[in-house]
Subunit: 325 residues, 2 copies
Amino acid sequence: MTSMDRRAFVAGALLASGLPWRAGGEKAEAGAPQAGKAGPAFYRFRLGDYELTALYDGIWHRPIDGRFVRNAPFAEVQKALAENFLSVDRLSLPITALVVNTGVRLILIDTGSAGQLAATAGSMMSNLVAAGIDPKAIDTILVSHFHPDHINGIKTKDGRMVFPDAEIKVPAPEWTYWMDEVTPTTVPEAARGVLLNAGRIFADLRKEVTQFAPGSEVAPGITSIAAYGHTPGHVAYAVASGDSSMMVLCDTTNHPWLFVRHPDWQPIFDMDGPLAAAFRRRMLDRVAADRMLVQGYHFPFPAIGHIAKSASGYEFVPVQWQPAL
Amino acid sequence: MTSMDRRAFVAGALLASGLPWRAGGEKAEAGAPQAGKAGPAFYRFRLGDYELTALYDGIWHRPIDGRFVRNAPFAEVQKALAENFLSVDRLSLPITALVVNTGVRLILIDTGSAGQLAATAGSMMSNLVAAGIDPKAIDTILVSHFHPDHINGIKTKDGRMVFPDAEIKVPAPEWTYWMDEVTPTTVPEAARGVLLNAGRIFADLRKEVTQFAPGSEVAPGITSIAAYGHTPGHVAYAVASGDSSMMVLCDTTNHPWLFVRHPDWQPIFDMDGPLAAAFRRRMLDRVAADRMLVQGYHFPFPAIGHIAKSASGYEFVPVQWQPAL
């Protein structure tokens, strides 16, 4: 048996790349053109009688510093990132939206970044098309809250409606806060851009948008769940069909490797840190106790799995990709 | 603020599915036809100058009982499965093969189950085609070992070569054991099917197949690494290009949620349990220490990530799906 000598195998593997390949007596070969681009990224699965499709929008890389988590030392945050083999000086925030096909209605939950936030995000629409879904066929858009990575997909940059036949439903307290309550001079400075962007998307849709009370049913089998604090009116959605159900967490928790594992950490993205953490703890506690399937907007694609309780917090356990529905 | 009453929200979500949707005054709607099938499942990424494509073959569900892990109580194995939200009376073993495109050569590492083991596995070829790779363009097939889920893709059921222009390279000790050393009467009973299947694939390819010594370079930038015990000649492959490298673990470890977390557990799939566990420990220790990218044939798709050391074993940390190369 060959002994596995550490230095030899690492050196061998690394050196190999620097050595020209000796084709020797081999047949003359054509080159192998590289594709140079990623493939489609959507994941389809069944929930009872419903067919769900997770649509990958990409990753939003955001620089971070000591202000990123309000109530934890930055060194601890960086340690949590490094333990998950992520960069320690930026947050790489994946984005995944969800289509629910009830067999009668097509419902889109949140709408992606529309490529308006980062060059590395904005593929939701091409993945929607790859999944065989016509934007014109979307009947309902459910909005969790008014952050730009959730609502920008409603309109193109020049204001055209992307889903022309879709009814848009939003949580009433979210609408009230951004559209009626605050102004550019009264909104917290850090949220001014969010406010202006919400106005860009919604100002001329005031009559078309339907507001709902969190807690109410908003589509067949889909119930909104108040999960405030991230924004004043942020909601999650419980989806149920037959004996199956799942919790669409939206931004109840940001990146799971930070904020599921450390649910009490308060990222600057949560407008009311303590309130968001309280709703987050209660939500995670419930989906863990019920062993309920969850989807998280900023969970690693396909962003579906379960939540397990651990000693100090929770763990996100991704589902295994299934080969058939 | 709406209070989040546990009973109300769970009951609401679950009841909702049983209630007919009241369309009320809404526009008459066409139904939304469901696709009824999964999408393609391949994942492309860069490693230095190389372009790699992970090809999902599906999941092989195998019933398990107390004999599944030789040196652990079945209750502990079932606990580990339940903690990961997996069925406790079967092993759901995902299969993912890997194509390495060096820019000059196309190299396939292991070949999938070819749909000959389970109805839920066998999509590697359709995913290869979806990834835009012509089977005729594969230059080299690297085989890790002779278990059927790794070699069946070499031939169709009726014996036709699937990759007609590919050179096939196998570890010499693996060839020696199965093709020269044991016979149906001398091989351990549990391995008789493996032996007969290896004969079906390789008997008439004796002159075409190239044997290599584990530890040697087998393709540009690809070095074989002895990882014996799973089978007598099982190897892993280290792939290196530029400053980047990754370890293709093949079956050095079976399902990571069992055998990365508990590297000393000896599944019945490992022919020599103690030897396989020793090679597994050393391999995991090295890739963890080097923070090296890894791919595992039976890791959840896309089967790529890193290995982190924990108190009692290791953890597999999947990579985040990248939107572009």
